[in-house]
C-alpha cells in the first residue's frame, strides 16, 4: 500500500525512506529520490507551485498503484510539496522498498517520470530581480521519460 502526501510543509526524506524498512526483515533494497529547487545560476529567487487539490493525491496514488502492479514492491512513498519553495529546498520525494535492487531503482525512476508527466502541479518562477515570470513550460523530455515505460498519454 502506497503512502501519498501533498503538503505545503517540508518533509524528512531520510525518515520517510527508513520507515519503509523499519521493523521488517524482508526488505533488501530501498531506492529513494529527492527533487530540490535549483537557483538556476542565481537567477531564481523561488518557485511558486500550484496544484489541483484532490486530483494531485489521486493521480499520485494511481501512479504508485501502477508501479506496484508492475514490480513486486514492499512499500512505496511519494510526497509532493506546493506553495512557495526557495532554492535549496526539497520539492518532491519518492521511495520504493523491495526485496531486490533492480525493481526498487526501476520503480523509483518510473514514479518520478510519471509524477512529472501526470501529477497536476504547475511551477511559476519568481526571479531574483523580483519579476514573476510566466509559468514554466512542460519539457518534451519529461513526456518522453514517461513514455519509455509504455505509458498511455495522460
Amino acid at each position: 500500500m502506497a503512502t501519498v502526501r501533498v503538503q505545503r510543509e517540508d518533509f524528512d526524506a531520510g525518515l520517510e525512506a527508513a520507515a519503509l524498512a523499519r521493523g521488517r526483515r524482508d526488505v533488501g533494497a530501498v531506492a529513494s529520490f529527492v527533487g530540490y529547487c535549483r537557483d538556476e545560476g542565481g537567477t531564481l529567487a523561488a518557485l511558486d507551485l500550484e496544484h489541483y487539490p484532490g486530483m494531485a493525491e489521486a493521480e499520485m496514488a494511481r501512479v504508485a498503484a501502477e508501479a506496484e502492479a508492475r514490480w513486486p514492491l514492499i512499500g512505496v512513498t511519494a510526497i509532493h510539496r506546493f506553495g512557495t519553495i526557495a532554492p535549496g529546498e526539497q520539492i518532491v520525494f519518492v521511495a520504493v522498498a523491495s526485496a531486490h535492487r533492480g525493481e526498487a531503482f526501476a520503480a523509483a525512476e518510473m514514479l518520478m517520470d510519471y509524477l512529472k508527466a501526470r501529477a497536476p502541479f504547475w511551477k511559476r518562477a519568481i526571479r531574483a530581480d523580483g519579476t514573476v515570470e510566466g509559468w514554466v513550460a512542460a519539457k518534451e523530455a519529461d513526456d518522453a521519460s514517461a513514455a519509455r515505460w509504455g505509458a498511455a498519454e495522460p
Partner: protein, 83 residues
C-alpha cells in the same frame, strides 16, 4: 457543470472556477472547449492553442473525445510541470 481552471488557463479565463449550464450539443471535452472559446475573449485566449490545454473529468485525465455527461467537475490546465 463545475468548471475549474489552473495556472495560466486560470489567469487567462480570469477566474479559478465557475458553474455553467452546458447546452445539450456539448457532449465531449472537445465540444466544451469549442463552446467555451465562443463565450468571450478571455476564453478564446485561454484556448487559443488547444493542444497546450489538458483536461480532467472528476480529477482523472481526459482526452478530447471523453464524454462529459455524468461528470461533476471538469478542469482545464496547462501540461503538468511538477516534480
Amino acid at each position: 457543470m463545475k468548471l475549474i481552471y489552473f495556472a495560466w488557463v486560470r489567469e487567462r479565463v480570469g477566474k479559478s472556477e465557475e458553474d455553467l449550464d452546458l447546452p445539450p450539443e456539448v457532449t465531449t471535452v472537445g465540444d466544451l472547449i469549442v463552446w467555451l472559446s465562443g463565450r468571450g475573449e478571455n476564453y478564446a485566449y485561454a484556448f487559443e492553442k488547444p493542444a497546450t490545454v489538458r483536461a480532467a473529468l472528476d480529477r482523472v485525465h481526459a482526452r478530447r473525445e471523453a464524454v462529459i455527461a455524468g461528470a461533476k467537475e471538469v478542469a482545464f490546465f496547462p501540461p503538468m510541470t511538477g516534480g
